[in-house]
Symmetry: C2
Subunit: 339 residues, 2 copies
């Protein structure tokens, strides 16, 4: 059995030759698995993220079941801001709901830094997992400042991010102060995970695709760069609908750029250049189609990835809850067997 | 006063020189206007679309108030499918909800064509409007087959369009049969509007941006082409998050390609070439910022549009309900005054 450092996943992140393409799935630990739905019964999302035993079990479930090449820490992007004292809850079917949205300088002043002690439960979960996982790498996890800011400013999920952008355009000093604080919280959260033993981190900027490249470079890139700069493990940087932002997201300090299904991986390679590996990018909806379609699409992704200097197979977004988990197992096998 | 045929709007659509850049706003007739909220009180969305007097008044409101260069028929993308017998309602705060979603060949068989008699109320509204509008052109309106199919397959709005894509990938024959029928309905709906006197049409493919270019070309483009081919008035074709699809959307038969705020208009011009005018593309959220920011952004859009062979100023998506209508009036004036 290979060591973590020599795993196909970390080799691909470092753009080194791999014996087979490594594969994991965003939201592999989650509602597609009956064993996940069972263990979460009666336990709220935030509560489950705070219980190291549950985090450990949930994170391991897809590794056991599918034989994927990496585990990803079960968490939620609002965990660090909640740990830093922001009053919020994750409502089933809705998402994060913030009691007092942040819309002015005084609201930003209320945000306090995150200390390692605030997220003991995360460090503990990582330690448990590293002991259990053996040669399988564990990926740490955080939401990026823009996406966190959107939740905090809107007070919950938003299709338009209108209040967020209004703050950004209308009060750029407040915006930058907010994002600088969120970058510190996020960086502290990732360092806790790295210190406890994760082998890589993924920074999710789920909503960054809502911005033009010019706005991304001006309002977001400095803060995501502050999060990622100088971290000592491979850094994956992912967002949805970010075809126009891939080079900028690489510039933020990514070793691996996550790509959604809208941008073919050969196009993405041309955009980000030879110094970045890619992760992605099967459309999660394809997994709801018959197997012959799934197989064609998986092979297409692998073919388009040949141009990339490193490739971690993944979906272009998270596993849909209605996905048959057996299909995920078959995809894992197919990627492993493919030449 | 200029004639409709010689209006700045139609000249820009035809890529002819204009005395000033024409401007209108998607969803200019809508919730940003107090007079709209007043007149809609107690009247459901579909009911209001079926009353020619109301459609006429609502369509005229923003023309009177802002002095925009075009009116757009007040309607909803589900109006023609509802008129063709699909049992659906538009729920406030949710969107269209379909009683019996379409997910199999038998469901597609139930869909019947649209006849002119089904939408008498639309023809009547257009005739009233053309008489009232004088030299101001009226834009007709329809939703494109993919977006309509998504509502019908999902049963309502969807973030992932997972069932829609599952049908598309898993049962392509059923998918194409559904979209062919929707294209016929849509084309019939637009022809009713053209016969009654609209000067241009806009085909909204709101959700097309959820697809990769390859999937768009295979599953959507033939049907949008069938809608637009050979129509006798200028055709605007718009979707959100379609930076990667602009050339394909132009290929569908657009005279004018609508562009959201993510793609600068000079980039869009490079993508679609010299044979298409552009429409767009101020981020609607910018209108919530202070005026000096709005002015800078409007001027930026006008500068980036200089590369385009024709430009209709608009937002990159619909007016947000919380927009101050006075800002829309000021933007109209600014665009008209700008060199």
């Amino acid at each position: 059995m290979s060591t973590v450092a020599d795993s196909a996943f970390l080799r691909a992140c470092r753009r080194e030759p791999v014996p087979r393409t490594p594969v994991w799935f965003m939201r592999q630990a989650g509602r597609s698995l009956p064993e996940y739905r069972r263990i979460r019964e009666g336990v709220g999302m935030l509560a489950s993220c705070r219980r190291p035993d549950l985090v450990c079990e949930i994170t391991l479930q897809p590794v056991r079941r599918h034989g994927v090449d990496a585990a990803i820490l079960f968490s939620d992007i609002v965990v660090p801001v909640a740990a830093a004292g922001v009053d919020l809850d994750i409502k089933p079917g809705v998402g994060p709901v913030v009691a007092e949205p942040i819309r002015a300088a005084a609201d930003v002043d209320r945000l306090r830094p995150l200390t390692a002690g605030d997220v003991d439960f995360v460090a503990e979960a990582v330690r448990l997992l590293v002991a259990e996982l053996g040669g399988t790498p564990l990926i740490g996890f955080a939401g990026a400042p823009f996406t966190l800011a959107s939740y905090l400013v809107e007070g919950g999920p938003s299709r338009t991010h209108a209040r967020t952008k209004a703050l950004m355009y209308g009060a750029p000093q407040v915006w930058h102060a907010l994002c600088a604080k969120l970058a510190e919280i996020t960086r502290a959260f990732l360092r806790v995970q790295i210190d406890a033993g994760v082998s890589a981190v993924q920074l999710f900027d789920s909503w960054a695709g809502a911005l033009s490249l010019a706005d991304y470079r001006r309002f977001v890139l400095p803060h995501s760069t502050a999060v990622l700069r100088g971290l000592t493990v491979p850094r994956i940087h992912f967002g949805v609908g970010t075809g126009h932002l891939l080079a900028a997201m690489a510039d933020a300090g990514a070793d691996v750029v996550g790509v959604d299904w809208r941008t073919p991986l050969d196009t993405a390679t041309a955009a980000v250049g030879p110094d970045h590996a890619l992760q992605g990018n099967l459309d999660p909806s394809v997994l709801l189609a018959p197997w012959d379609v799934v197989e064609i699409e998986v092979r297409r992704v692998l073919t388009e990835a040949k141009a990339a200097p490193g490739h971690v197979f993944n979906l272009g977004h998270g596993v849909l809850p209605e996905t048959d988990p057996d299909v995920l197992t078959r995809v894992t096998d197919l990627v492993h067997r493919a030449a």
